[in-house]
Subunit: 419 residues, 2 copies
């Protein structure tokens, strides 16, 4: 087996632990120097491959690569750039192969969600058509947790831990204030299509410390009358109410509330998100004093409260990607297979990209309480192991000691290329 | 010295570590059972004293009291309820003394900020006038860090650590995305009058990992032209920009932007806060793609990322309050005195409430960079020790194991009283 270089790139929204996957790829490749030369990373994702803007990861010390495991964000830069179909964007796919050929890339590791699984599959297909030997492996990553064939997605567990912890903390706060002040707290969370992150807010409470939660899932059309009744019921019973709302909440007609709903109501674009809107409606209709939070990037960047399970799985999929490539696999994704709920056990298996690309795994209705405002025990059994374990980063002067790599450029060999 | 009971209450907005002060009071009182009988807590702060709704903390086990050190929020409930002047509210002050007399309260420990320092002083004065022997000690607490005579305020260090860590994490995220997506991230933070929390956002970066930050302090009138130029400058140089904005940002006329400014612009009440407004203005004027976050209660409830320094000081002021009371002090507050910056050293001293009540410590101009958009080295020297050290709570099933006390009521002895 001839020694060839590997290409690695990060795609789409980054996470608290995507760099652990990068570390998994790079450290595993370094242990197979007989088969893999250098790992070259795309600067700003696939754009780096198209423009031949490659980073030489061999210039990074072992300790800096190890530090990626505790550094959130995309260490090489990511991008929101989707290659279209092979028919529409054939020139781009061919350019990719041209760059790979120039740098003797034999392994393509693409770290992303649904879109990048599709891109990875297409890269594999074009290489095959052009007779260029390439093994394309997709490394799963998405806070949305919506990839199929894998039990869960690296990046999700840490966001889930963040939102559960944050809501738990805020709920304790609101409970203290409810007598004379804030009675309702609204937290808006990510997840535009699937309600996985919203469901994770439901892990804020437990049997010893129940919390009056009302969750608004993107899967359940918003019914204001029913919702307000639920909130009033919680306040009447507990004195306060905590609401987790998905940024992707939709009205009965299927329109995104954050866009259409609030625009209709006032005839102008909504500056705030759906979180402040929901809080305002509660105040108008029920008169409760409210507070609201929109964590936005804080939730997906929060490496300081990352899930240890998530961290381990993120590293494992990176490591397995290299091992699968060396074992001759192509057009696959290392998937996480759950083998036991209690105790929680999992292993990695190769799953074919053909069955993954362009598919979305939605939150099952059986995970949502009958009234549509909470999670079921079934959801808890699924979600709970994913947020377990702590893996705090080292701190220096009170803040996490995250690192920036040198990210030294590989000399260009081809003509410039515009994307 | 006759053995008498103590009263303890939490006032105003709660923090991640105010319960550590409660633990300091209760544990120290328990070590002096010859002098202090029970510690009775006010349910929902001073309202509990007025309505004779008292909690018997002697019913809580030692381990539950110890667990307060890692539980955010106000364990006995807090309230936003300010007693007016002695002239206006004399009947209320007299009612307090009546309740204290009924339960043989000899020690009044009031845990709060500016308003409660004032209340504590007045309670001391009315007790004196009525010839009721009482030692009133104010236990400092405020995330706003604006009490005078103390170097810093318990509760602030943990919020400061939260906002510095959160902005650092978000900045790493934005840096990854800036090439093709988000270039500007705005985080709104608490602190309506003084910019201490805004200044703490400036601790997000350090020499090894500089971050292009622009801070908007409540002390500096918002100048949109200058601000937009600063943001553009950062994006031109670094590719992205992170903005920390105080909820208390004011325009040149001194009006709160979150209220007046945004209402003027659109002629309607602003649902979102100043954070989304600032983000929107950047988008309109400079065209950058943006994200924004409003952490709200998450920042002050975030016990999971509390500062160890803050935790230790919060406990220390509770402990010192009891010790000062036993030493015969009255109408004082345990203040934190910094004796050295490097290494950071501090001790507790009794400070007279007369010099504290109704005073606010603003962020000095020398802590704000000349251009008004950053912090100085002097600010770093002051702020940095306050966020140092980690003190994570125990976790169970992936979330912090915060506790709820029994909060058993003390039988009432007096007639009911309406507040």
């Amino acid at each position: 087996m001839k020694k060839r270089n590997a290409f690695y790139a990060q795609s789409g929204g980054v996470t608290a632990v995507i760099n652990a996957s990068a570390a998994g790829v790079i450290e595993t490749a370094r242990r197979h120097k007989d088969k893999i030369g250098k790992v070259l990373a795309g600067r700003n994702g696939i754009i780096g491959a198209l423009t031949e803007d490659l980073i030489d990861t061999s210039r990074e010390s072992a300790s800096m690569v190890a530090a990626l495991k505790h550094t959130p964000s995309g260490a090489f830069g990511s991008c929101r750039y989707k290659l279209k179909s092979l028919e529409e964007s054939r020139a781009q796919y061919e350019r990719l192969i041209e760059v790979f050929r120039a740098h003797d890339i034999g392994y393509f590791f693409y770290n992303g969600g649904n879109d990048s699984a599709d891109t990875c599959l297409k890269v594999s297909q074009i290489a095959d058509k052009l007779g260029y030997p390439l093994q394309a492996i997709h490394v799963p990553k998405t806070v949305d947790n919506d990839l199929v064939l894998t039990d869960n997605c690296p990046g999700f567990g840490s966001v889930a831990k963040y939102v559960a912890t944050s809501m738990r903390e805020a709920a304790f706060d609101v409970a203290s204030m409810a007598k004379t002040s804030t009675k309702v707290f609204v937290m808006e969370v990510m997840g535009r299509h699937a309600g996985w992150i919203t469901a994770a807010v439901g892990l804020a409470d437990d049997k010893e410390t129940p919390i009056p939660l009302v969750l608004l899932f993107p899967e359940i059309a918003f019914d204001e009358v029913k919702f307000l009744a639920a909130v009033r019921g919680k306040v009447d019973t507990f004195g306060y109410c905590c609401i987790g709302v998905s940024e992707g909440l939709r009205d009965a007609a299927g329109n995104l509330m954050a866009e259409a709903g609030t625009r209709d109501a006032f005839g102008h674009a909504q500056l705030g998100g759906i979180g402040p809107y929901i809080a305002q409606r509660i105040h108008e209709k029920l008169g409760y004093k409210y507070h609201w939070a929109v964590a936005d990037y804080l939730q997906r960047a929060a490496r300081h409260i990352a899930s240890k399970t998530d961290l381990e799985q993120s590293y494992a999929v990176g490591k397995a990607a290299v091992q699968f490539a060396l074992a001759g696999h192509n057009a696959i994704m290392p998937a996480i297979i759950r083998t036991s709920d209690t105790p929680y056990r999992w292993r990695i298996e190769a799953a074919p990209l053909k069955k993954i690309a362009n598919k979305e795994k939605m939150l099952p209705r059986s995970y949502i309480a009958r009234d549509g405002f909470g999670i079921t025990d079934k959801a808890r059994v699924y979600l709970s192991p994913l947020i377990r374990g702590e893996a705090p980063p080292p701190f220096k002067n009170g803040v996490p000691q995250y690192v920036r790599l040198k990210n030294a450029a590989v000399p260009r060999k081809l003509n410039t290329y515009q994307v």
